[in-house]
């Protein structure tokens, strides 16, 4: 499966944020999306998630040579501030989600199994989500995406403000989830991107471009990325 973006454009009034995004993502890989503050990473995600209307271009999925539109259920969008319905307990949220997505492949196990996967303790499972900590909410959000098994997983700074243990658990989980899907991971933390991602792409003057690591070691590769981002600033 490939996720193809062609000539995607988005402006806010006269300010062109995404000028010409064209890129092909391949399944099974985690892409680290880097860019300076205000480069338009979140705008790109919002456009792909159809929370913002694009001004031009298109994006589609390609499966065995067949093109098809991206449907809402193809995309899982994980935000840096995890959003969960505060008035439900964790168990009720999962129950509701499984009711709605009964046909999904991932949604056919007993509820407690899912909690076990995320190491959410017995005591917490029947607590209202409004009483959950940031890290716990994050786990719930990831759990939903784990069950939904979207073809494209967009992650907007998902590991910032998590404690080291939860962050490590999340990293493991993302690695285990990457098969058969495209994961695009936006972050400001270069080391994290290098550690977790298979490819590094830069959002650069409103365009996406891949940074080729070829034979460079991590330190040199880092230097190359920083140089590329600086260049953007001087343009």
């Amino acid at each position: 499966m490939r996720f193809v973006i062609e000539h995607l454009k988005k402006s806010f009034e006269n300010k062109e944020v995404l000028s010409d995004i064209s890129f092909t993502f391949e399944s099974g890989k985690i892409y680290g999306l880097l860019g300076r503050n205000g480069a338009g990473k979140t705008t790109l995600f919002n456009c792909l998630n159809r929370d913002l209307r694009t001004d031009g271009g298109r994006f589609f999925l390609e499966e065995q040579g067949e093109r098809r539109d991206v449907r809402a259920e193809d995309i899982g969008y994980v935000l840096s501030t995890p959003e969960v319905p505060e008035f439900l307990t964790a168990r009720e949220f999962l129950q509701f989600f499984i009711d709605i997505n009964g046909s999904s492949e991932g949604a056919n196990r007993p509820i407690d199994d899912y909690f076990d996967v995320m190491s959410i303790s017995q005591d917490d499972r029947d607590k209202l989500l409004k009483d959950y900590s940031h890290g716990m909410k994050n786990k719930m959000q990831m759990l939903i995406h784990l069950i939904a098994q979207p073809n494209i997983l967009l992650l907007d700074e998902p590991l910032t403000s998590l404690d080291v243990v939860v962050a490590e658990e999340m990293k493991q989980l993302l690695r285990s989830l990457k098969r058969d899907r495209i994961t695009i991971f936006s972050t400001h933390i270069l080391d994290l991107a290098l550690d977790l991602c298979d490819e590094i792409i830069l959002l650069h003057n409103g365009e996406l471009e891949i940074v080729d690591q070829s034979n460079l070691d991590n330190a040199k590769f880092k230097g190359k990325i920083i140089d590329a981002l600086r260049e953007e600033h001087h343009d």
Binding site: D74, P85, L88, L128, A148
Partner: protein, 523 residues
């Protein structure tokens, strides 16, 4: 000091001009015509500046004119047994005392003070003295013509009218000086927007003295009020020295403004937290349903305190009022004909009443903050069939909640109509009940529809849709002006029912056509 005043005034003006430009930018359609860099356009800036200056001038006189016209003279004409000039002086005195500590200008933490003192680090003493001096000057200038106009109108002598502006300022100065002394002594800074229970009690007593005493024929003699006013001018003059010499404005304002900025930054968080608080922690609440019915049932049950409870409370109030009127019929049968006449033509009035008791925006706000705000980030929730399914369920629920008080009120009105002498046309009873119910259904549909079509909330739960605000204001205005309309039950009732049916059909068509696209998070 003149330089400080000039800088502070310009700062305040810039802030006002930008607020006006921002407001203009929020107007639908107009915002597309305006350039992106609106804050840079010279012509628009001048226009906004003119508006700001006009507003400054209007604010000097308009508020005070309304104050005299309503709170003093407006209420004053109701007391027929006491002389008009004495009522005027009496009410004015007590309200001025209340104003001296509730409307101080000095202890009101406003944004412009925050910008000047905290962000721009202006000299606190100079800033406060010039700002306060200007505020007091505005009081004198504003009160001067209006106290003469209304005072003479009520028959008060001219010399008394001349005293008023200075007395009002004198009281304010005295109260400010007392608060400064209190701060010096205890270190507690007063905030006129956050009064303690004791202060509210004093306000209550003063209000009772202002409006209650004339009702039983007691007023202070005009001369006594004049003596108190003269004393206030004297204490005010003494207070000027104290206010002038007070050394700790910097410290005091940092304290006052830190409280306030804390509030400003957290306004949204407060809204959110109070929304979260409305979620019941009752662990016995469960649901045996599936899917969206499950979600909805839990939502309604866990938000009983803001949905069903107020509806039930209003129902009881309606019942109580109906029974009260029935009792009044029993005690004073002559009331019947008046009530009957009123009921036969006052149906349009009930549009406004239904508007007031409807749980529309409260419901949609809770829906957004506690439910949709988070779930809209999940793609399954945005699938068109899901959006429409949930809309239908929610519409059913909110109609049910609003219908309880509406049916009670409608039935109560029908009973009152019957008990007050009845009507020749029996259809009037039916139409009364059905039209009040249909008004309720209309409001339920209306609020949910505009919520789904305009989805006005941003990710940070602020309302950011000019169109939504306009629709809400228009709804209010229409309901408000309908109060003026007098029409027979039969005609207005039928029109009302027809309109509601038509509106519901159109709204549902629009929802099915557009909601899957419009029901999104605003970013």
């Amino acid at each position: 000091m003149i330089k400080t005043f000039r800088t502070a005034f310009l700062l305040k003006n810039t802030y006002r001009v930008n607020t006006i430009l921002y407001a203009i930018k929020q107007i639908p359609l107009l915002n597309r015509l305006l350039p992106q860099a609106i804050y840079r356009v010279y012509g628009l800036k001048i226009f906004a500046n003119i508006l700001a200056v006009l507003w400054e001038l209007v604010s000097i006189f308009l508020g005070k004119a309304l104050y005299f016209a309503t709170l003093i003279c407006g209420v004053g004409v109701l007391y027929e047994t006491v002389p008009a000039d004495e009522v005027f002086a009496h009410i004015l005195l007590f309200l001025s005392v209340i104003g001296s500590f509730m409307n101080t200008a000095m202890f009101n933490p406003t944004r412009d003070k925050y910008y000047a003192l905290i962000l721009m680090r202006m000299d606190a003493r100079e800033y406060v003295l010039t700002d306060y001096g200007y505020a007091m000057l505005k009081v004198v200038v504003g009160f001067f013509p209006l106290s003469a106009l209304f005072g003479l109108g009520c028959g008060a002598p001219f010399w008394f009218c001349l005293l008023i502006p200075f007395a009002v300022v004198g009281l304010k100065l005295t109260a400010a000086a007392c608060s400064l002394l209190d701060y010096k002594r205890t270190g507690n800074v007063r905030n006129e927007n956050r009064l303690g229970k004791a202060t509210w009690l004093v306000v209550g007593l003063l209000l009772a003295a202002a409006y209650g005493l004339p009702a039983v024929g007691i007023t202070l003699p005009l001369l006594a009020v004049a003596v108190i006013f003269a004393a206030a001018i004297l204490t005010g003059a003494v207070s000027i020295g104290l206010i002038w010499r007070f050394p700790d404005y910097g410290l005091m304002y940092r304290q006052l403004l830190s409280q306030m900025m804390h509030q400003l930054d957290q306004v949204n968080r407060h809204v959110r937290e109070s929304s979260y608080k409305s979620i019941s922690a009752d662990t016995t609440i469960v649901s045996r349903r599936k899917g969206f019915e499950f979600l909805n049932e839990l939502f309604i049950k866990r938000h009983r305190s803001i949905l069903w409870k107020p509806a039930v409370r209003i129902t009881y109030i309606c019942l109580f009022l109906v029974l009260g009127v029935l009792l009044a019929f029993f005690l004073r049968p002559e009331l019947k004909s008046v009530v009957n006449r009123v009921l036969m033509t006052f149906l349009p009035y009930f549009v406004f009443i239904m508007y007031m008791i409807n749980r529309g925006t409260g419901f949609t706000r809770a829906l957004f903050i506690n439910c949709d705000h988070s779930l809209l980030t999940y793609s399954f929730y945005k699938r068109p069939e899901m959006v429409l399914k949930l809309f239908a369920i929610r519409l059913r629920e909110i109609i049910k909640i609003n219908l309880l008080p509406a049916l009670t009120l409608g039935a109560g009105l029908a009973v009152l109509l019957y008990a007050s002498g009845g009507t020749d046309n029996y259809w009037n009873y039916v139409i009364l009940v059905v039209s009040v119910a249909s008004m309720s259904v209309f409001f339920s549909v209306h609020y949910l529809t505009i919520y789904y079509l305009l989805q006005p909330y941003t990710v940070s739960t602020e309302v950011k849709s000019g169109t939504y605000q306009l629709v809400l204001s228009a709804t209010y205005l229409v309901c408000f002006f309908l109060m003026e309309l007098r029409m027979p039950i039969f005609v207005f009732g039928i029109l009302c029912i027809l309109f509601c049916v038509l509106y519901c059909i159109v709204a549902c068509l629009l929802i099915y056509r557009f909601a899957p696209k419009t029901f999104r998070l605003r970013r």
